[in-house]
């Protein structure tokens, strides 16, 4: 008799990978349906669940390739990238990486970046809440310590950069009716900020310096270093203007003056 781990391994091999020896080893009671028909019910249920779940996370990817091709690519993705959580909502973050190596979609060079954008949107919707930046506390920071300020971004904030015009691609593939659907695929790439605010989740196009600034702050750089990085990316970068904007928009929601103890070593 197969042990429980063996039976469960055989079940996955038979249901997901069509392994006939594994199906035989399962010892399925046939009755009105044979073992192959019974395992097919599970194959359809499991893959159907993932097609639905990933279709909800990646509606634009699905629209770009069409539902039949999307279902085919989801099935291949599921086999290659196992779900690691009992919570299916956490599944699918590696779709972009999968698509980058997925031969049937090679002509859609922008597809992996669109997937990254959709994942960032999906994750922004479930990220932690955060209070706005405490401006009074910030005002009490002495001038000489300002360069040492380390700003923290909202937990939902995600930067998505692409050499393709993915924001336009994303926009014209929304379900609501829209005007001009043309996309110039040779247009410049995008540097995007995905952020959830009280108004919902938004996508904002960033300038070169702004993107460099937020990326540096997001990595824990202090204000002085982040400002240098932004100025290097965009010589005429207006630091004060962009800081004010991202504090007001609640991209920046916290600050500390020193690095945490474990990072000072």
């Amino acid at each position: 008799m197969r042990s429980l781990p063996e039976l469960q391994r055989d079940f996955v091999a038979a249901a997901l990978f069509g392994d006939r020896a594994a199906l035989h080893a399962l010892g399925v009671v046939s009755g009105r349906l044979d073992a192959a028909a019974r395992i097919a019910i599970y194959r359809n249920n499991v893959l159907g669940n993932y097609r639905k779940a990933l279709g909800a996370t990646y509606p634009v990817v699905r629209r770009l390739v069409g539902t039949p091709s999307f279902n085919t690519l989801v099935d291949a993705f599921v086999r290659a990238y196992p779900s690691r959580h009992g919570d299916v909502n956490r599944y699918g973050g590696e779709l972009s990486r999968f698509l980058a190596a997925y031969a049937p979609a090679r002509e859609l060079a922008y597809l992996p970046d669109v997937a990254r954008l959709e994942w960032a949107i999906d994750q922004a919707n479930i990220a932690a809440d955060a209070a706005p930046l405490d401006l009074e506390a910030l005002a009490r920071v002495p001038d000489e310590a300002r360069g040492e300020l380390r700003f923290g971004l909202h937990p939902s904030a995600a930067l998505v950069a692409s050499r393709h015009p993915i924001f336009r691609i994303w926009q014209v593939n929304q379900p609501e009716p829209h005007g001009d659907e043309a996309v110039d695929l040779t247009a410049d790439g995008d540097r995007l900020l995905v952020l959830r605010s009280t108004q919902g989740t938004t996508i904002e196009r960033l300038g070169r310096g702004e993107h460099a600034l937020l990326a540096a702050l997001g990595c824990g750089a202090n204000l002085s270093d982040a400002a240098d990085i932004a100025a290097a990316a965009e010589p005429a970068f207006d630091l004060a203007h962009h800081l004010r904007h991202h504090v007001a928009a609640q991209t920046i929601v916290s600050f500390r003056v020193r690095a945490p103890a474990n990072r000072e070593i």
Partner: protein, 279 residues
Amino acid sequence: MPAASALGATAGIGLRAPHVALVRRDRPAVGWLEVHSENYFVDGGPALAALEAIRADYPVSLHGVGLSLGSADALDAEHLAKLKRLAARVEPALISEHLCWGRIDGRHMNDLLPLPFTGEALRLCCDRIDAAQAVLGRALLIENISAYMRFDSDAMPEWEFLSSVAERTSCLLLVDVNNIYVNAVNHGFDPHDYLAAIPSEAVAEIHLAGFEDNGACLIDTHGARVAPGVWSLYRAAIARFGPKPTLIEWDTDLPALEVLLDEAATAQAILERSDALVA
């Protein structure tokens, strides 16, 4: 373990995302609401805020689909910790999970997969239920699933496996009457034999849902009204167990909220008739 339920023996509905705004606005007259625990395993955001707002108006039950109590893999401590954190936030009347498995060698199938009814599987499930209840500090309700497969290695019928779990652990039971009906048709047994084997005192909740007949077997789609045969079996279940909190579940092709409320009203009428008989 604390008392099983702050719910009366009333009918509730499964609350799904497309109905949340309407329920918040109209506050329909329904006894309680049940949500999938995993949908609220989030750090923040609008969905969790909406659940907390709804919780102020209705008793809520947390129904899990991903703990995988019957998996040969170790119990997922992170999953359990998230459930515990959610329970502390929502203070649910009930917390339930399924008697099934979903994960092996770290791969999750995110589905409710059938266990062999063996002594080995029974011991494993009981150990995991004990461990999960110890972490949560309260009783879990354990639900019977629809299964499309039985194994040569089965050493007992499903109802013996389920009632043994209730006897060997301090868990309670969530009896899904539709799943009993579906399995009875698909595997050829008398569903009343199943009901007769369940220890009444352990039953804390009942689920009702709709199935689809694909010609070869019944598929538990949660995508239709409760079938007449399932309503009959539900009446038999209430006659045997007494009135119990009863939930209308609908997941596929979700209809208008009114349809769910209408199904819940049917269940409520059966519960009230049963109360009248008892009185």
